[in-house]
Symmetry: C2
Subunit: 514 residues, 2 copies
C-alpha cells in the first residue's frame, strides 16, 4: 500500500470512531471554533460544564480516538469505587489526553508517520502505566508534527492541526494536538513532551499552563520518539492544562508511584512539600526575588509579548516582590548548540523512517535537515556535550554573581517563551526562547498572560533588527492579524525546582486573576 492510502485509511479510522450522534450537522463558518461546543446542540449543559467535547476534529488534533475503551475504563473505575468504597488513586476517573508518543498496549503510535500505521504497541509507556495506576482514563492520542522537530503541527497522515481560537493560527508544536484539544476544552489535562519548546509553545499559543520539568523528574521510558538514544539534550515529559493546581495533581500522582523504580533515568526525588511551603512563605511575605528579560539578544519579541513580560513584572512588583533585570547569558550560543544537536545525525533517523513508506518530508523538516547534510563525528558530539556542560556552569556562575551582588537568593526568572503570540501558519521562525532553557535543563512553567490587542500592540516604526532572523520575525507582525492571539511568559528556575517554580507560576495566575 502506498503511504497516501495508508494515511487516508488511518484518517478515516479516527473519523469513524466518532459516533454519528456526536457529529456536527454542519461545518461552522468563521475562524474561531471556540463557541462550537456550546452552539452545536450536541452537548448538554451538564456536559458543557465538565468541558467534555467531541467536536475536536474541527481543529484536527487527533491521531486516535477511542471512546469505547474510555467508557469501559470509566465503568471499571465506577465499579471499583462502589466495591472498595475508595478511589483507585488520586486521578480516579480523570480523563487525560495523551500526545501521540505515549504508547498504550494494543493501540498504535504513529507520530504522524505513514510507516508506523498498523504497528500495535506491545507495552505501555512507563508514564501511561503510572497514570493508569493512579486512576486516569485515556480517550485520545493527540497530533504532532512529522518527526516532532518543529513548533507547528503538520504531518502527511492527518494534515494540519489548527488553533481553535483562529483557524489561521498554529496551535504550536510539537505537542500541538494537546494545545488545541486543551485550548478547546476537549481535554482537562494532557501529557506532552519538550525537547525545544514542545510543551511550552503549545501551552503559550492556547492560553494554557505547561510544565517542562528537568530531565530525570518524570518518566519518559518507552515513549516513541525521533532520534531515540540521543541524550545530549533530553526530551522530557510534562503536563499541560488549565491551572497549576491541575498540573501539580498529575505530577504528584506520578511521583507517588515512585517512577524511579520503573524508569532508570528518573531520580528518586519524591514531591518535596517542604520546598513548596518555603516558597509559599516567601510569596505570602512579598519576599520573592525575580529576574526578568524581554529579549534574548537574537530576536526582539513582538509587541504583545513585550507587553506580557512587562505586565508580569508589574504584577509581581505590585505585590511587593523584588524584580530585577536579568542578563540572558549567551543565549544565541545556547541556541546554536541546540541546533547542532537537533541536526547531529544529519536527519538520518528521520529520513530512514520516511523512506520506509515513501512519504515526503514536510517543508518545515526539509528546511531543518536535508539528506545531503553531514552527520556529526562522534568526537564532535562529545565536544558539544562538553561545551554544553561548560555553558551550564557559566550560567550557574552568573546566578551566583547575581546573588552575591544583590545579597538575595534568585527565586526565578521571568522571560518570553516565544517571540510571538499564537502565530499564523508556516510563520514559526525562532524557537530560541524555549531552546536555551532545554540546553540548561532548567525547570520552566508557562503562564498565560494576555491576548494580542491591535489597539495597544502597535508595530514599531523605527525597528532596528538585531539579526537576520530578527528582521524576518519582525516583518511577520501585523497587529490586526494577531488580534486576540494568546501571549504568555515562562517562569524559569534551576534544575529540579518544580515545586518552587510551579508555586510561583500559580501565584502569577492569581495576580493576573485567572
Amino acid at each position: 500500500m502506498t503511504w497516501e492510502s495508508l494515511a487516508a485509511k488511518k484518517r478515516a479510522s479516527v473519523v469513524d470512531a466518532i459516533p454519528p450522534e456526536w457529529r456536527l450537522k454542519e461545518v461552522p463558518s468563521g475562524d474561531s471554533v471556540m463557541s462550537v461546543p456550546k452552539e452545536s446542540g450536541i452537548l448538554s449543559s451538564e456536559e458543557l460544564t465538565i468541558t467534555e467535547s467531541s467536536a475536536t476534529d474541527l481543529v484536527n488534533c487527533l491521531h486516535d480516538f477511542f471512546p469505547d475503551y474510555a467508557l469501559a475504563r470509566a465503568k471499571y473505575l465506577d465499579d471499583y469505587l462502589a466495591k472498595h468504597k475508595r478511589p483507585l488513586g488520586p486521578l480516579h476517573g480523570l480523563p487525560v489526553s495523551l500526545k501521540d508518543q505515549c504508547r498504550i498496549k494494543g493501540f498504535e503510535t504513529t507520530m504522524g508517520y505513514a510507516a508506523w500505521i498498523g504497528k500495535t504497541d506491545e507495552e505501555n509507556s512507563v508514564l501511561v502505566s503510572l497514570l493508569e495506576n493512579a486512576g486516569a482514563v485515556f480517550y485520545v492520542k493527540t497530533s504532532v508534527p512529522q518527526s516532532l522537530m518543529t513548533c507547528e503541527t503538520i504531518n502527511n497522515v492527518f494534515g494540519r492541526t489548527v488553533n481553535p481560537r483562529n483557524k489561521n493560527w498554529a496551535p504550536g508544536g510539537s505537542s500541538g494536538g494537546e494545545g488545541a484539544i486543551l485550548g478547546f476544552r476537549g481535554s482537562v489535562l494532557g501529557v506532552g513532551t519538550d525537547i525545544g519548546g514542545s510543551i511550552r509553545v503549545p501551552a503559550a499559543f492556547n492560553f494554557l499552563y505547561g510544565v517542562r520539568p528537568s530531565h530525570g523528574r518524570l518518566p519518559y521510558a518507552k515513549m516513541a520518539n525521533s532520534m531515540e538514544g540521543q541524550e545530549t539534550i533530553h526530551s522530557v515529559c510534562g503536563p499541560l492544562g488549565h491551572s497549576v493546581e491541575d498540573l501539580r495533581l498529575l505530577i504528584k500522582a506520578v511521583l507517588a508511584e515512585q517512577p524511579w523504580n520503573f524508569d532508570s533515568k528518573v531520580v528518586p526525588m519524591p514531591w518535596r512539600g517542604a520546598e513548596e511551603d518555603a516558597v509559599k512563605a516567601k510569596i505570602a511575605s512579598g519576599g520573592l526575588t525575580l529576574g526578568f528579560y524581554s529579549c534574548d539578544g537574537n530576536v526582539v519579541p513582538h509587541p504583545p509579548i513585550l507587553r506580557a513580560v512587562q505586565t508580569v513584572v508589574e504584577k509581581f512588583r505590585g505585590a511587593g516582590h523584588t524584580v530585577l533585570p536579568w542578563e540572558p547569558y549567551r543565549h544565541p550560543y545556547a541556541v546554536n548548540l541546540a541546533n547542532r544537536i537537533y541536526a547531529a545525525d544529519g536527519g538520518a533517523d528521520i529520513f530512514a523512517t520516511l523512506k520506509l513508506s515513501g512519504e515526503p518530508s514536510i517543508p518545515h523538516i526539509a528546511a531543518l535537515v536535508d539528506p545531503n547534510m553531514k552527520k556529526a563525528d562522534l568526537n564532535e558530539v562529545w565536544d558539544i556535550q562538553l561545551e554544553k556542560w561548560n555553558y551550564q556552569m557559566e550560567y550557574l556562575a552568573r546566578i551566583r554573581e547575581f546573588e552575591a551582588s544583590t545579597g538575595r537568593e534568585l527565586d526565578a526568572i521571568i522571560a518570553p517563551i516565544t517571540c510571538t503570540a499564537a502565530i499564523r501558519h508556516d510563520q514559526f521562525k525562532y524557537y530560541g526562547y524555549a531552546t536555551a532553557i532545554n540546553v540548561l535543563d532548567f525547570t520552566s512553567v508557562v503562564v498565560p498572560v494576555t491576548f494580542a490587542d491591535k489597539a495597544v500592540d502597535v508595530k514599531p516604526s523605527d525597528f532596528e533588527p538585531l539579526t537576520k532572523i530578527d528582521a524576518a520575525v519582525h516583518a511577520e507582525y501585523d497587529a490586526a492579524a494577531y488580534h486576540g492571539a494568546p501571549a504568555a511568559v515562562q517562569i524559569i528556575g534551576r534544575r529540579f525546582t518544580e515545586e518552587k517554580i510551579m508555586a510561583i507560576a500559580e501565584e502569577l495566575g492569581r495576580l493576573l486573576n485567572q
Copy 2:
C-alpha cells in the same frame, strides 16, 4: 624536548620535592613495604600515630608532592582557628590525597601523559574548591595509568605503581596511586574516580573502603579526563579511605556546600539523614533483605573472593538479616555494552594525546584500542544508549519481581568487585564485576573482607571454565603467590542510595570486626 626527557624531568621534580631529612637511608628489601614507615626512623611515634608517611615513593604512587604548599595551608588554617575560634569547615586541617585528574590552580595535571607536563592549571576542579572550602589540606596528586582506562597503574612518565603489601602485586587502577598511598597509610582519605571500577578495584586491592556514588551525586566538573564529553557511561568521583565514617565525612562536607550550584550535572539532593536513619533502624532489628551472587556468568572468581562473599553472607545471616541468592541479570551483556562505549571513538582521543609527545601507548592500552579500530557512527552510539536504558529498566524489573515474590524490599546486593584478590602485575584480565554496575549507574561501596590464604584458598582441580576469559583468569591463580592479598566485596544499591548503602557497608565492617 622528547617525551622521554620531559618524563625524566617530571619524575625528578617529584623526588626533589622530598626534603633530604624525609628520605630513607637505604632501600628496603622484601616485597612488602608496609613496615618501612615504622622502621625507617624518620617518623616520630606521634607522626606514626597520625599515619603520616613520607616514604610513599617506595610504591611510586605520586605524580606530584607539594609539602610547602600543604604546610602553608595548614598554617593558614591554624591562624584561622586561633582568630575565629572555630574551624573553617568540617574538614578543617584534614589532609586529603587527590588522584591526578583533580586540578588545583597553579599545579600540573599530567594524568601520566608526557604531553601534559608543564601545563599549569588555571582553575580548580569543582570538587577541589569545595573540599578546600570545607577546610581540607592538599599535599599530593596520585598516580594513574595512561588514559585511565585500565585497572593497573602504569604510565610512561612515572612507570609502575606497586601494591605496598607486596611489590609483585598491582595496586589496582585507575585510582591506583590512591589505593597505594592509602593502603600504606600515607593518606587518611583520598579522592578517586570510577568509570569501570577505578575507585573500587584499588580499594579492594589495598584493603580499603571506597564509594562509587551514582552519577550526579558529587561534582566531577573541571577534572581532567580521557574522552571528555563522553556521557554514555559517566565517570564519577568518590572517596577512598579506611572507614565508612571517613567516606561519609567527606561526602557530607561536599554536599553541605551545595555542589549543584557549581556543577550543573549534580542533582540538588542534600545528605538525606532520614534515609540513613531508616536503614539503621532496619539494621538494628536484623531486618535487612540482601541479595548476593558469587559469579556473574562470565568469570568464576578465584577462591579467596568466593570465600569473601561467603563470609559476608554468613556474617549478615548471623546477625539475623535475610540473605537470598540474586541472579545477576545479563551481566555479560552489560560488560559488552561498556566495552563498546570505552572503545567507541576507536581510541581517537587517547592516540591524539599520545601523538602530541610521541610517547607510545602502554601495552594495556594497546590491547584495548588500536589506531586501526573503527570509530563508532553517531547513530550506533545512540543505539547503545537506548540499549543501556532498556537494560537498566530490565534490571529494575528483576528487582520488582524479587520484591513481589519475597514480599520484602531488596536493600542491597552483595557481590564480588573483582574476580581476584590483589593481582600480580600485568595479570588484570577482567573488570566485568565492576563495569556492570557502572552501566547500571548503581551506588556501590567496597568493603575489605579478608586476605587470601594459601592454606584455605586451594585451587580447584576440577575447574570447568565458563568462557575463554574465565579459563585465562583461572590459570593465573596460584595460592602461594597470592597469599596475603586483600579480598573484598561490593555492596550494591539502586541509583542515589549512598546514605543507605554506606550504612550497610559500615555495618558489615562492624560484623567483620574492622
